[in-house]
Symmetry: C2
Subunit: 132 residues, 2 copies
């Protein structure tokens, strides 16, 4: 059984749960980290702990608003740890928790695929653009 078949079989079992968010991991979890910024921030934190402003610089086009919001969700989900040191001005450091570090394994798999097949995707887009 290859991955496609395995995935198809997996999908069928979810139907029984009717995708109930509290029991279906895919809906309950990938809905959250499957947004524009979560994976990118997890990548940024994989290299080591970073302060709020460092993350803002590392991921240039994220707004402070979304940076705060995304980090709060990742913290609530137990993937990221937030540490405040009450200096003045305040210093807040974000880092991956052990759970967050375990997530880097499948995340790296996804990114490897993206880098290996990106050229094919670009080609498909261009073929389609040319046809239109």
């Amino acid at each position: 059984m290859d991955a496609t078949e395995a995935l198809g079989a997996r999908f069928e079992t979810w139907q029984q749960f009717e995708f109930d968010e509290s029991r279906c991991a895919v809906r309950g979890l990938l809905d959250r980290i499957g947004d524009r910024w979560s994976m990118l921030l997890l990548c940024a934190l994989a290299a080591g702990p970073r302060r709020f402003s460092a993350l803002a610089r590392l991921v240039p086009d994220i707004s402070k608003r979304m940076l705060t919001q995304t980090l709060r969700i990742l913290e609530a989900d137990g993937l990221v740890h937030r540490e405040v040191r009450p200096t003045v001005p305040p210093s807040v450091t974000y880092s991956l928790t052990p759970l967050g570090r375990s997530f880097t394994v499948p995340l790296l798999g996804l990114i490897d695929w993206a880098e290996a097949h990106f050229a094919q995707v670009v080609e498909a887009r261009e073929r389609r653009a040319a046809a239109a």
Copy 2:
């Protein structure tokens, strides 16, 4: 070098490209398939080709609008094949392309992680809800 370190190192190289969409696979690709519906639809198609209305039934709370839009993007990116048979009423069948099938490998990895660690995430959320 474990996955976390590898991911961190990878992130640093992206900085050189300044996340230029045309060259950075992560921005150019995961921005598209990393949304609410793309991965779910790819899972649904992993079990075999499906017609438009079948997909709408399999993924209950997707609107027709988003179903159309998401399938068009997946088609443009070369992950999904769309086949129209000009019967009346029309019959349109969607299936994974070879590229789409290759994506099921990392996708399955992500889902395995989600199912294995979902309990921990829920626990983290509950701990946080209790603290508030």
